[in-house]
């Protein structure tokens, strides 16, 4: 029973491994996680009798860990080096991470105000009596990218600081600066739309439609999708 526990896989005993190093390991499923073990059976023979008795009783994996941790840990393979160690809970301190993943909350309590704060970043424009300014603002109030005809570098090249040509050129300067600051892969320019926030309930496994998350899609998948769609379009055009 003990050897059967270790070597059973979802398919009939065959493993389809990706790297040549994986051939030295068994992969066994544990309900929620896969256990990767080395093929040396010496360590299992030591715990053969004890473990078989455990498996026949109905206990979950976590109970194993609490009751006899030393035997349970022998099932996991020896790591090749100490760099396998990782914090249990890793916290990404990047404050812009959640916005990039579209998980961050947009402030939604200001629906009675106008304008509302239901955004991550917003493009704003102010027309003063002597100067024009344009900036990109966060919902907390921080100005991320700023450009104004106040600045001497811009004012030098303009006829007047308030007219339409000044506004046009201000826009170009602001786009150039925000590109340099936040050059993203998706769009070469600056778009005026913001995608909606991803809600938690959409990601539940019982939901009848699980949308694809943006971080699960790789560039290769996008290329393949584009190539296939192009082929289909060509076929339609030919017909």
């Amino acid at each position: 029973m003990s050897t059967g526990f270790i070597s059973l896989n979802i398919e009939d005993g065959e493993q389809q491994t990706s790297t040549p190093e994986d051939q030295n390991y068994f992969y066994a499923c544990n309900g929620k996680s896969l256990i990767r073990t080395q093929k040396t059976t010496a360590m299992f023979r030591q715990s053969d009798n004890l473990f078989s008795s455990f498996v026949r009783t109905t206990q979950r994996v976590k109970d194993f860990q609490n009751v006899i941790p030393s035997i349970f840990q022998r099932l996991y393979s020896k790591s090749l080096n100490n760099d396998d160690l990782v914090l249990k809970e890793f916290v990404n301190r990047n404050p812009r991470n959640m916005e990039l993943l579209r998980i961050a909350r947009k402030p939604q309590g200001f629906s009675l105000d106008s304008p509302t704060l239901n955004y991550y970043y917003k493009l704003k424009f102010e027309k003063g009596s002597r100067n024009l300014t344009g900036w990109v603002e966060h919902n907390l109030g921080r100005k991320v990218v700023v450009a104004s005809t106040n600045e001497w570098a811009i004012r030098k090249h303009l006829f007047s600081s308030i007219d339409t040509s000044a506004a046009e050129n201000l826009g170009r300067v602001l786009a150039h600066r925000s590109n340099c600051f936040l050059k993203s892969l998706e769009d070469g320019g600056v778009t005026l739309e913001e995608s909606p926030q991803i809600r938690e309930k959409q990601t539940y496994p019982t939901h009848h439609k699980i949308p694809t998350m943006p971080w699960e899609v790789t560039e290769e998948d996008v290329e393949i999708y584009d190539a296939i769609s192009r082929q289909l379009e060509d076929k339609d055009n030919k017909e």
Binding site: D83, L87, K143, W152, L158, T164, V173, E219
Partner: protein, 425 residues
């Protein structure tokens, strides 16, 4: 809830709490653990008042300090300004273009002038947005990045990926060392550090250093001492975007950084001899690529060399996970995954599905109560659960069935979404 929450220290990192909840429906005796993170907001009135009083009495204690150079704005004098504006107003050609709407300003000229005047202020604001000063130098330090660095990675023979101030890159673009350029005298010494405050997976509140070059004479980065070899960024899957910062320091004199030196691998000539003894090579290579040796703290580093170093330049980018990292983790770092590749698993499940689906007859109808058949008692629990998931089409077996034609899924847990019963067609 109030019984479980303990009193927190001031300025501590957020803690996680575990609460036991009884689920009365299924198993009243088995507690379910729910975990959530609580920020450091539960201070008592006394503590809060003490802090506000301190700030009022001793404002210098809580004010921020500029540890770099002053971003001196070189403004033109008022008379010069006035004259140039008068000239512009009198320029009839400009007036024509402005009225027609065809006045197009040269953006590159403007950028050069902006770099000399207002750029350090704008970049400092951006860096505070990304909390770079906070995580590198602490709560009370900042600097104006007076020196602009042009950093370019060679992606292809044709393409280059630059590093600006927070742009998004992928690890495959950033594998090898970049080309760093900045303006300086031939006599001054600089040191370049490439760190990431988010990449350290083992220690909280510390960074991982990817590249360190010290005692750079003038412009030439290649003539400087390579104290830590370049290692590509390693953002793991699921954590999102990590920040990677280049910090340029100006040195007063030549500094001995031997404390931070990492052991290098042997050269290629000696490698050929030792290629037979693979183990030795692997161990030596691994020494300079060990991640635990690369933990770094710019706060402590700057404290040590405070008198001789001043930060002068800053630029950063953000990187996400990439498929090319799998090979890097497995083969060079020798860190293997605990789980199989999800694409492999999807392939296996697809093959399973194709066994049951006939190409011409289509899919078979589904029976309404798939769990009615018993599962063999001899199997262990984890295997029984797998078989039950397969029958229900749950979890990784979700792709065994098409969107709407799947068996009824019933979960007796805390109910969030309960599907209606689906009948056979």
């Amino acid at each position: 809830m109030s019984n479980i929450i303990k009193k927190l220290r001031l300025l501590s990192s957020p803690t996680t709490f575990y609460i036991q909840v009884r689920n009365s429906r299924m198993n009243p005796l088995v507690p379910i653990q729910r975990k959530f993170i609580v920020p450091e907001l539960f201070f008592s009135l006394e503590e809060r008042l003490n802090e506000t009083n301190e700030r009022v009495q001793d404002p210098e204690k809580y004010s921020k300090v500029n540890i770099g150079f002053s971003g001196a704005l070189r403004k033109p004098r008022k008379q010069e300004k006035f004259r140039t504006i008068q000239d512009l107003r009198n320029n009839t050609e400009l007036e024509k273009l402005a009225h027609q709407g065809t006045l197009k300003v040269d953006l590159e000229v403007i950028q050069k002038e902006w770099e000399n005047s207002l750029k350090p202020y704008h970049v400092k604001e951006l860096a505070e947005n990304y909390e770079i000063y906070k995580h590198l130098f602490g709560d009370y330090a900042f600097f104006y990045p007076v020196v602009t660095m042009n950093i370019l990675y060679d992606f292809n023979e044709e393409l280059m990926s630059p590093v600006y101030y927070g742009n998004l890159l992928k690890p495959k673009e950033v594998k090898s060392e970049p080309n760093v350029q900045f303006q300086s005298d031939s006599e001054s010494l600089w040191s370049l550090i490439f760190t990431s405050p988010d990449d350290n997976l083992l220690e909280k509140d510390s960074e991982m250093i990817h590249w360190f070059i010290g005692n750079i004479p003038g412009n030439d980065v290649k003539k400087g001492e390579e104290i830590v070899d370049y290692m590509q960024p390693i953002p793991p899957k699921g954590t999102g975007f990590h920040r990677y910062c280049f910090v340029l320091y100006k040195q007063n004199k030549k500094i001995d950084f031997s404390r931070y030196r990492k052991s290098k691998p042997l050269r290629m000539g000696i490698l050929m001899v030792l290629s037979a003894c693979k183990k030795i090579w692997v161990n030596l290579w691994r020494k300079h690529l060990s991640l635990q040796e690369r933990t770094f703290n710019t706060f402590d580093f700057y404290k040590e060399f405070e008198d001789d170093l001043t930060p002068a330049g800053l630029s950063w980018f953000q990187a996400d996970y990439d498929v090319t990292l799998i090979n890097f983790f497995h083969k060079t770092l020798h860190i293997l995954d605990l789980h199989r590749d999800p694409k492999e698993m999807q392939k296996l499940i697809l093959l399973k599905r194709l066994k049951n689906v006939h190409p011409f007859q289509g899919e078979k109808p589904l029976y309404p109560f798939p769990q009615a058949l018993p599962v063999d008692k001899k199997w262990p629990i984890w295997l029984k659960n797998e078989i039950r998931d397969e029958r229900d089409g749950k979890g990784r077996y979700r792709d065994m069935y098409r969107e709407d034609d799947r068996p009824y899924i019933h979960e007796g847990k805390a109910v969030i979404n309960v599907l209606p019963f689906k009948s056979l067609k």
